[in-house]
Symmetry: D3
Subunit: 227 residues, 6 copies
């Protein structure tokens, strides 16, 4: 349940170096490094292909069809943040367009993650302002009801606490809790370190069956080959 009508101005952001280090590893590797948790539901899709970012979460809770708090959260953005927007009920309206994106970008935001719709996606693409959303919709919103900023929110099924690290790319969006960020970065880097070698082996025709020594466990599990 949410605390309504409050804006927390001081949040503890994950340190910049750790946050920034996670971007290039990508959401899939980071998700693995955390033990296969932290992923927002896969209906969250980028408005254009190719963006790959990480940033510290600044959260906003909105009401269905009402984007008033988007202007409130804009003021709380610091360079390197990613805004994470949750809605109190299911909604696909277009809460966010090119004007708000101009404001967010001017404040230093790197992206928006929103469990609802966006619009002006052609302009957002030209601006290089990436958004991960549930929908794209021309439908506008009103400014009538207050929500909250920088409270823990549930976005696309995942609990996001202000200051957590968000990693997003074409594969989806992962939330890394602040307390686990450093360890996750280390673990994700370790996973990636030997990927080059594995890729070279696989490219040369070596099978994963042999590289990962799977033949024996598969046989033990009962797998039969039939000619």
């Amino acid at each position: 349940m949410y605390e309504l009508g409050v804006v927390y101005r001081n949040i503890k952001r994950t340190d910049r170096a750790t946050t920034d280090g996670l971007a290039s590893l990508g959401s899939a590797t980071v998700h693995e490094a955390m033990g296969r948790v932290g992923l927002l539901k896969p209906y969250m899709r980028p408005i254009y292909a190719g963006a790959q970012v990480s940033g510290t979460a600044v959260t906003v809770l909105l009401h269905p069809g009402d984007n008033w708090m988007m202007h409130v959260v804009a003021e709380q953005i610091q360079p390197g943040d990613i805004v994470v927007a949750a809605i109190t009920a299911e909604c696909t309206d277009g809460y966010f367009g090119d004007l708000l994106a101009t404001s967010f970008q001017a404040r230093g935001a790197r992206a928006l993650v929103i469990d609802a719709g966006v619009r002006d996606v052609k302009t957002l693409t030209e601006m290089n302002f990436p958004v991960w959303s549930k929908a794209i919709s021309s439908k506008g919103t009103i400014k009538a009801t207050i929500g909250s900023v920088n409270i823990p929110v549930v976005c696309a099924g995942m609990l996001v606490t202000p200051g957590d690290v968000i990693v997003a790319d074409d594969d989806g969006v992962v939330c890394v809790p602040a307390a686990l960020a450093a360890k996750t970065l280390e673990s994700a880097r370790a996973r990636e370190a030997n990927e080059g070698e594995k890729r070279a082996k696989l490219a040369s025709g070596v099978l994963g069956l042999d590289m990962y020594k799977m033949r024996e466990p598969l046989e033990k599990a009962g797998l039969k080959y039939i000619d």
Copy 2:
């Protein structure tokens, strides 16, 4: 409920200048200018990114899995029209491909809006013939049952009357009733007129909170800031 088996040859189209003027404003601005109504459901998506058109609606009512009337509506197309296709039940079949698109384009159609599926999307993209649809599907259709042309239809949840203006882009599809088109164009232009100035302010770091004088109403609504 629909009148079946009729083709209305004479429809009153919104005048060309008004219709054409709406394209560059885009579906989001036009939707706002009408008071946030007129939008087809957001599951209507373009088959390729970047197209932005307006045109006068020529409507066709089809049966599930049957595209016979597509050939009938082709004859009723005049340059500057957009064909709006509704189905009497939910269907994702591919009613429309490159041959029909060649015919529609030759008649002067600017686009197709269909509450079902299309196919040959690679060729349609190369032809620069935009389609907004519910699905993409190879599944073909038969030619066995008659529907109607140029009757009012419900397409993706919205009532579209022949001669109405359709505005479509990456954000979605809006229907502007003929009677409201001139007023909507004026109102949409007015909205857009001061967007440049707003954008410049926001880009310079001015907050929407101040630009729109929201701080006082937010406080009155009970918003609390916590340090």
Copy 3:
């Protein structure tokens, strides 16, 4: 129902010439040529636009959240194959990423068709390894339970037997049973043969109503024109 825990090493593949001939015809024409059957459900979408392939089906049955058998199927791939992956229950996890794609590509696979999710789609796009899937998801999988390889599977609602021909493009995925492949190729080529002429006529403004002689049957069906 599925036979679990078996790998059939020897399957009868449709001959190469027939298989390869179907690619350029595309899924929509092939689907028509078969009498409008054989299409996987239209939720199967390519991870990037423009790929158009055909290949012989090598099948794999997986459990939800478990991609162990992906390594087993890799060994059974021969150049020109397309891997068709079915899951025993609905799942959107990312079963397949760039490492497996490297291995599949090294073995000669042309594509993957999977009734679940994939990840690393940015890298897969750069590798030119096309995938048709139900979802894109960072969510990884485990390797704990055995399924089967090269048994008949149901993928996206369609029965696929090892050795069948798969034809996939932006419009969707079609399965052509081995026994019908030669006849389908012939029939699809015949359909396409006179498409150029039809397209030229339609482009010149001739109506389908006249080209296909539809006016009389439409009148018989009761269609009325109203001025």
Copy 4:
């Protein structure tokens, strides 16, 4: 597109005898009698099994999350009416509960058909006030924005004009336009008249194949029997 902010007080209702006669025929027979059109989408489900009603449509257009107009439409209800509620965007909120049902019932309404959610379904069931809806939800609504009463609306994909006949039962909801109601009643009764005889034959083991003389057309269509 909708006319907003208006209440039409005088609508032409289909005559009572015709309207009432349609109830016992049921939605499936009425739908057939109209030529298989007029059905609201099948996601419209009754909140309890067994209710079977017909009535004259009184329409109301609501905004997402706002049920203010429900109180406005209550005043326009006459005995024998069924309220048909459409929403300007997709919404599953609970717009209607036991208090409004008490008011509607006191005014003589026979049912509610709503393209959104309802609540207090246990009490509505005890009150014998049937509702066909898209969802059941505790989520309440506000009273802030005006819509319209007794304008033509699109409800669950179907255009409903005030005064049309609504027929609803466990199979779904059908809208019969006022102009077609008398003819539809006649035609539906004719369909039903010989159903008893057919049922008796089928119950005795006579096959539809013989009763409807289908064997020859099936053979002509190419059906083969294999022993």
Copy 5:
């Protein structure tokens, strides 16, 4: 892919005793006994609660919106059969109502399992003729295109071969291949045999943790208790 236009008159049905023995065990136990496979997708729901049946599968393949083959399959029903109906594309139309149910029941059918819609559900309930379906819909169908009877079909994602055993109850629908039916019955009975004892223990307050000796493996898996 399906063979179209054929009716197989002679199918090998699973023996009656085995088939009938599976009903009382229920779909969940039977599904477990087969190794957690064989289940039709869980969107298949009974039209009324409480029915629990088993029977031998007689299959029918239908086209979208066309129920002609329902009359053809009726002739192939033998007492103790369950009709399993698949459609060549997604469809929610009401293919089956009280007249067909009368015919099926007269032929000895125990139930219908259909990957589409049914209607007249009130009457079907009164007739005690259970149906498991994807939808309920008044929407009628035509009789224009032939499909097939008693070919293997994919119904709700599962391959069903004529003569297989279908077990259906409030939990869903399971298909037991003929070859596995005897073994599955034995295994399902074994599972059920000691359920009574387990239930008594659990009812007395014994925990599954102790009854199944899970404490040690949970500890090994790393589970920590925190006071």
Copy 6:
């Protein structure tokens, strides 16, 4: 993000009197009393109609297709609890059946709320053990991976903290945070107190328009009546 592999044995439950007092008020009234927040998504449906309960939340986090932790949470149940089960990814498998229900009931649990599937619903209904779930499915689960018990979880889009009050009935499921329970009870009772009087007025034909004095604000909002 979730803490995995932990069982919190000591949680602070909302006091019994407050918890129990909320049941009879129902989910709709309680949801209103909290300011229209706290509702789990409306896809959460009861397995049988008529149950109306409240209880203190004991939470469990499960993996897709794995119900091992259900046995762990059973030990933590105290009389008057409701088990709230969340899954780390979308899943419709049947995690819970009559044996676990026997155990839960023996421990004093009043209900289960699960963002996945259940089975044995016929037996659960006979046992009077209510469940609110996303699905009903025969599909069984394995016991291989550990999750957690009594951590805060996101269930059907709502954050539930152990010890919160759950109120569930035919309209849905509401979570009342422990800190707000007493106030919510008071406020919900106040709402209900004057409902009887309102109902009597409405039943006598008084309109909500007059009872709530809406005519003036509606006129101010621009509503026009047309004769």
